[in-house]
C-alpha cells in the first residue's frame, strides 16, 4: 500500500475553482479554494510491480510544488492542456528520488533527479523530428505510445508523479545527483533546467539589458541562469516582497524594484518616455532589450510587454493565465517567445551540454541555500498547498513535499 495525492477528472470542480478565483474575493481565498474545491485526494494505491525494460520505480525523497501545479488546482490553467494530460494523475514533476530498480546506467538505490518530459524515448515510439535533434521539450507524440497521454511525469495517469511514495520513470529521464548536492538543492534542479532552457531560447548579445518580471522560483533561477550563462548586461528584477528582493540582490541583479515603481524606475534606467493611457497600465516608449515573464500572471505579462523597447523580445517562462492586451506586440513590433521545460542539448554535433546537466552543475555552486524552507508530509497537503499559494507573502521561495515522512 502506498499513498499518493491523486487529481481526478471533475469538470464541475474545475469550473467552480476557475469561476471563484477569477473574482477579486476569490483570488484572495485561492489557498482555501485550492485545498478544498480542487479534486485532489490522498489515496492509497496498491503496490506497483516492477515495470519492464527501460523503466524503473522511484521513491521520491522531495517533490516540489510548482506554479503550474497551483494553476491547475485553482482552475487557472487553460483548457488547452486537457488533451495532453490523462486523469487521474498524481501531480509533482520536480522530483529528487531514489531508484528502486536497476537501470542500464544506474545501480539500484541511487539518487536521481527526474526530467519530467515524456518524449518519444519514454513512450517507446520512433523519435519524432524534435526528439531526433535532442529538443524533446517540443515532442509531438506526447499523446501517443505505450503510456497514456501526458506532457510530463506528474500529468500522466500511467507514470505516477512526485507527490506520492512510489512512481515510475523511464531510464532516459533519470539524471544522477552528485553527493555534494543535498536534497534541497537537488529539488531545484528541474526548475533551474527550465530557467536555463529559457535563457538559451533567445540569443542575448553582450551588454543587453534584461528585465525579469516576477521573483518566485522561476524568476530567481532565471536571474541566476542569465548571470552565469549569458553575456547580458544590466539585469533588472521586479519583485513584490522584501525577501525576494534580498535574494535577487544576492544573485547579482543590477537593481530590484517593487511592482508599483517599475515603470518609472525602468524609465530612469533605460531612458525613453513614460506614457499614461486612461485605461490600462503605464508603458514606456523605450525600455529594455529583453523581458522575461516569470510570474505567470496576466499583470506580469502586461508589464513585460509595456516595458520592452521596440523590436525587443518578451519571453514567456511561466505558464500564462488570464488575458492580456497584445497591442504592444503589434505596435512596437515585438517578438513573443515561449519557453517550456528543458531540452537535451540541441543536435548531437553541437556538443552543448543538456539543460539538465548544466543545471546540476550550477545548483551546487549557486547561493541557493534556504530556498526550500517549508517541507510538508503528504498527509498535510492542504497546508502545503496553502503555503505554496501564499509563498511570497510568507517569506518562502519553494514549498516541497517529503513523501517519506508521515
Amino acid at each position: 500500500m502506498t499513498a499518493a495525492l491523486e487529481y481526478r477528472r471533475a469538470p464541475a470542480r474545475y469550473l467552480t475553482a476557475r469561476g471563484a478565483t477569477s473574482t477579486r474575493l476569490g483570488s484572495r481565498l485561492s489557498g482555501v479554494l485550492a485545498s478544498n474545491v480542487a479534486p485532489l485526494r490522498l489515496v492509497s494505491r496498491g503496490r506497483q510491480p516492477a515495470p519492464d525494460g527501460g523503466w524503473a520505480r522511484l521513491r521520491p525523497l522531495l517533490a516540489g510544488i510548482c506554479g503550474s501545479d497551483l494553476g491547475m488546482l485553482t482552475g487557472r490553467s487553460s483548457p488547452y492542456l486537457f488533451p495532453v494530460v490523462s486523469m487521474p494523475f498524481v501531480p509533482g514533476h520536480e522530483i529528487v528520488a531514489e531508484t528502486l530498480d536497476e537501470t542500464p546506467d544506474l545501480p539500484k538505490g541511487s539518487r536521481v533527479v527526474v526530467d519530467p518530459v515524456l518524449a518519444c524515448a519514454a513512450r517507446g515510439v520512433p523519435a519524432c523530428r524534435w526528439c531526433e535533434v535532442g529538443q524533446h521539450s517540443r515532442c509531438d507524440r506526447v499523446t501517443t505510445g505505450r503510456i497514456a497521454a501526458g506532457l510530463q511525469t506528474g500529468f500522466c495517469a500511467d507514470t505516477g508523479g512526485g507527490w506520492s511514495r512510489t512512481m515510475v520513470a523511464h531510464a532516459t529521464q533519470l539524471h544522477p545527483v552528485p553527493d555534494r548536492l543535498d536534497n534541497e538543492r537537488a529539488v531545484l534542479v528541474e526548475p533551474l533546467a527550465c530557467a536555463i532552457h529559457s535563457v538559451r531560447r533567445v540569443d542575448i548579445p553582450p551588454g543587453a539589458s534584461v528585465l525579469i518580471v516576477g521573483a518566485g522560483t522561476v524568476g530567481l533561477l532565471t536571474l541566476l541562469a542569465l548571470r552565469e550563462l549569458t553575456p547580458a548586461g544590466a539585469t533588472y528584477l521586479v519583485a513584490k516582497y522584501g525577501h525576494q528582493r534580498a535574494r535577487a540582490r544576492e544573485l547579482g541583479a543590477t537593481e530590484v524594484f517593487d511592482p508599483a515603481r517599475a515603470p518609472r524606475a525602468m524609465r530612469r534606467a533605460t531612458g525613453g518616455s513614460l506614457e499614461h493611457p486612461v485605461f490600462g497600465a503605464e508603458y514606456l516608449l523605450g525600455g529594455v532589450d529583453f523581458a522575461f515573464e516569470c510570474s505567470g500572471s496576466s499583470s506580469g505579462l502586461d508589464a513585460a510587454l509595456r516595458l520592452v523597447r521596440a523590436g525587443g523580445t518578451v519571453l514567456l517562462s511561466g505558464m500564462p493565465s488570464g488575458t492580456v492586451d497584445l497591442t504592444p506586440v503589434w505596435f512596437r513590433q515585438l517578438r513573443l517567445v515561449g519557453s517550456y521545460a528543458s531540452d537535451g542539448g540541441g543536435a548531437p554535433q553541437d556538443g552543448q551540454p543538456s539543460d539538465f546537466a548544466t543545471a546540476v552543475s550550477l545548483a551546487g555552486d549557486a547561493p541557493l541555500s534556504g530556498y526550500v524552507d517549508a517541507v510538508y508530509p503528504l498527509t498535510r497537503w492542504r497546508e502545503a498547498i496553502g503555503h505554496a499559494i501564499g509563498a511570497g507573502r510568507l517569506g518562502t521561495v519553494k514549498v516541497a513535499f517529503d513523501p517519506t515522512r508521515d
Partner: protein
C-alpha cells in the same frame, strides 16, 4: 514533555505577539528580525505537595530532621515571606499555610509552647489581618492572631537587637524575638533567583540601620544582576550578614519554588505561544480585551488584583540555608532560564499589573519605574539583553495615581524629590536621610499600613544600574506628565517609540523582546 525556552526570530509567518501593559494587554506586530525570548513551558507541579513538605521536614539537607530540633520549653519563631511574594498571589491554600501547619503539628507533638509567627516584611508595609489570614490559613490565624502572629516592626527600638558588624563594617540588626529564639523556622517562597537563601532572615527581619548597607546606589550599580547572586554585590553583602547571623541564631529554612502557571485557565492564552493559540484562545483573548478596555480603571484594578494564580509547586527543600539555596536556584533556573545569544540595540519589556509593592494597591509611576528598570531589566544573567548605551522600551499606561494609605512617602518623593533631580546618587546624598528618619512616615509605618519613608528611594535605586546602562528609556502608552517627571520619554505606539529611539541607536536597530510574564531569566552570552 516540557519544552525548553528558546529565542524566536520574527519572520513573515509570525502572528502578532502578546504584550502585557499594566492592567491589560495588547497584540503587537513586531518588525521582522526581532528576537523574542520565551521561557520554558510550564513545568508540572508536584502532585502531592503535603507529602513533599513532610519529606523535606523529615529529611532536610545540611541539618537534622526538624522533629529532633524541637524540644519542650524552647522558644520557636516561625518567620514567613510577606505579601510581596508570590506574584500574582497564589490561590488558597497558600504554600506558606501548608508548611506552617505541618511545622506547628510537629511543634505541638514536641510540646513547644512558646511559638511566635512573624511576617518578614522589613521596611514593607504591615500585612492587614485579612492578608495574614490568607497567607497562614484560618486555623493558624485563629490560634495565634493578634498576640503571637504579627508583622515585623523595624522602627521599634525595643524589639530590635544589634548582633554585630560584618568584616566590612555593615551593621547586622534584626528582630529581637527572632534573634533570641532557640530556632528560627523560615518559610520561604522563591519566585525569582533574587529571593531566598541569605536574604531571608538578614533582610526580611532587618532594620533601616542594617538595610542601608546594601540598599544603596553603589551596591545596586554593582549588582549585575541581582537575579544572578554570584555576580551581585547585594548578595555578597547578604552572605556576609548571614555569616554573622549564623554565629548567633539557628535557622532552619524551608524553601519552595513555583512553576510559571501564573494565569488561571480562562485566560490560558497568556501562557501559550501565540502561533499555538486555538480558536478558543483567540476568542477568549478578544472578549477579554474588549471587556477589559470597557471597564473603568478602578474596577479593572480590582479585577486584576483578584486574579489568583493556580501555581504548581516544583520543589520543596528544607534544612541549612547555605545548602538548600543552590537546590532552590536550580529549580528556578529549570523553569525560567533561556539562553540568548548576545545583547541587542533595543530591549522591549511589557510590564504586568503587579509588582511586589502594589499587592491590593495601586501601581504609582515610581513603582512602574522600579518594576521596569529594576525587576524586569535585571532578569538577566551575564549581561543585559540591551547593550550599553542602547534604548529600553517599556509598555505601561503609568497612571498618575498614588495610594494615599500605602504609599504616602511616594507622593512626596514624586512631587518634591523628582522635581528637583532624577539622578539616583544625588537623591541618595541629599534626601534619603530626611525621609528615612521623618517621624510622620515612621508613625504611619508602625501604626497604619504604609511603606517606610525610605522605600521610594529604594525603588529608585533599584533602577540605578539600568539608568547607568541604557542611553534612553521610552514608555509606550504612558501618561506623558508622569513619564516626563521621571525623566523618561513616552510614545503612543511602538512605531513612534522606534522612531524616537532612532536618535540613539539609528534607524535599523536589533530588537529583543523579553516575553515575560511568565517570568523569564535571560542567560545572555
Amino acid at each position: 514533555m516540557s519544552r525548553p525556552g528558546f529565542v524566536l526570530e520574527v519572520d513573515e509567518r509570525t502572528p502578532s505577539l502578546l504584550v502585557n501593559e499594566g492592567d491589560g494587554f495588547r497584540l503587537e506586530r513586531f518588525p521582522l528580525g526581532t528576537r523574542v525570548v520565551y521561557p520554558p513551558d510550564v513545568l508540572p507541579g508536584l502532585r502531592d505537595v503535603n507529602g513533599a513538605i513532610r519529606r523535606a521536614l523529615f529529611n532536610p539537607v545540611g541539618s537534622d530532621p526538624l522533629p529532633t530540633l524541637l524540644f519542650p520549653g524552647m522558644r520557636l519563631t516561625i518567620v514567613f515571606d510577606d505579601i510581596s511574594i508570590p506574584l500574582p498571589q497564589m490561590q488558597t491554600p497558600d504554600i506558606r499555610q501548608r508548611i506552617i501547619e505541618q511545622v506547628l503539628e510537629l511543634a505541638a507533638e514536641a510540646g513547644v509552647d512558646d511559638v511566635e509567627l512573624v511576617a518578614a516584611n522589613a521596611l514593607h508595609r504591615r500585612m492587614t489581618p485579612t492578608e495574614l489570614k490568607r497567607a497562614v490559613g484560618e486555623r493558624v490565624y485563629r490560634a495565634f492572631f493578634p498576640d503571637h502572629l504579627r508583622n515585623h516592626d523595624a522602627e521599634d527600638p525595643d524589639r530590635l537587637v544589634h548582633l554585630g558588624h560584618t568584616n566590612q563594617g555593615e551593621d547586622v540588626e534584626i528582630n529581637r524575638r527572632a534573634a533570641e529564639s532557640d530556632l528560627i523556622v523560615y518559610v520561604n517562597v522563591t519566585l525569582t533567583a533574587m529571593s531566598g537563601g541569605p536574604k531571608s532572615v538578614s533582610v526580611g527581619l532587618a532594620s533601616y540601620r542594617s538595610l542601608r548597607h546594601h540598599h544603596n546606589v553603589h551596591t545596586l550599580r554593582h549588582s549585575r544582576s541581582f537575579n544572578d547572586p554570584p555576580n551581585s554585590a547585594m548578595h555578597h553583602s547578604y552572605d556576609r550578614m548571614a555569616d554573622v547571623l549564623g554565629e548567633h541564631v539557628k535557622i532552619f529554612t524551608i524553601e519552595t519554588t513555583l512553576n510559571n502557571e501564573a494565569f488561571p485557565s480562562h485566560v490560558g492564552f497568556m501562557n501559550k505561544r501565540e502561533w499555538e493559540w486555538s480558536l478558543l484562545d483567540q476568542a477568549s483573548y478578544l472578549s477579554f480585551k474588549r471587556a477589559n478596555d470597557m471597564t473603568p480603571p478602578k474596577l479593572r484594578r480590582e479585577v486584576w488584583q483578584r486574579s489568583y494564580a493556580p501555581y504548581g509547586v516544583t520543589g520543596v527543600h528544607a534544612g541549612d540555608p547555605a545548602v538548600v539555596h543552590p537546590l532552590t536556584l536550580a529549580n528556578v533556573h529549570r523553569q525560567q532560564l533561556t539562553e540568548v545569544d548576545g545583547p541587542s540595540d533595543i530591549g522591549i519589556w511589557g510590564l504586568p499589573f503587579i509588582c511586589p509593592y502594589n499587592v491590593n494597591s495601586i501601581m504609582n509611576p515610581i513603582l512602574v519605574m522600579s518594576l521596569g528598570l529594576g525587576y524586569f531589566f535585571n532578569l538577566y544573567r551575564g549581561q543585559p539583553i540591551v547593550r550599553r548605551g542602547g534604548v529600553a522600551i517599556f509598555y505601561h499606561p503609568m497612571p498618575n495615581a498614588f495610594h494615599p494609605v500605602h504609599h504616602p512617602s511616594y507622593i512626596d518623593f514624586f512631587d518634591e524629590v523628582l522635581a528637583a533631580t532624577t539622578d539616583p546618587a544625588a537623591i541618595e546624598a541629599k534626601y534619603e536621610q530626611q525621609f528615612a528618619t521623618d517621624p510622620w512616615y515612621i508613625h504611619l509605618y508602625r501604626n497604619s499600613y504604609a511603606y517606610h519613608g525610605v522605600h521610594p528611594f529604594y525603588m529608585w535605586y533599584w533602577g540605578a544600574h539600568a539608568l547607568e546602562h541604557v542611553g534612553d528609556v521610552i514608555f509606550v502608552g504612558a501618561n506623558r506628565k508622569a513619564a516626563a517627571r521621571m525623566g523618561f520619554r513616552s510614545a503612543s505606539t511602538l512605531a513612534d517609540a522606534l522612531e524616537m529611539a532612532s536618535d540613539t541607536v539609528g534607524s535599523s536597530p536589533r530588537l529583543t523582546y523579553l516575553h515575560a510574564p511568565p517570568l523569564t531569566l535571560a542567560d545572555v552570552r
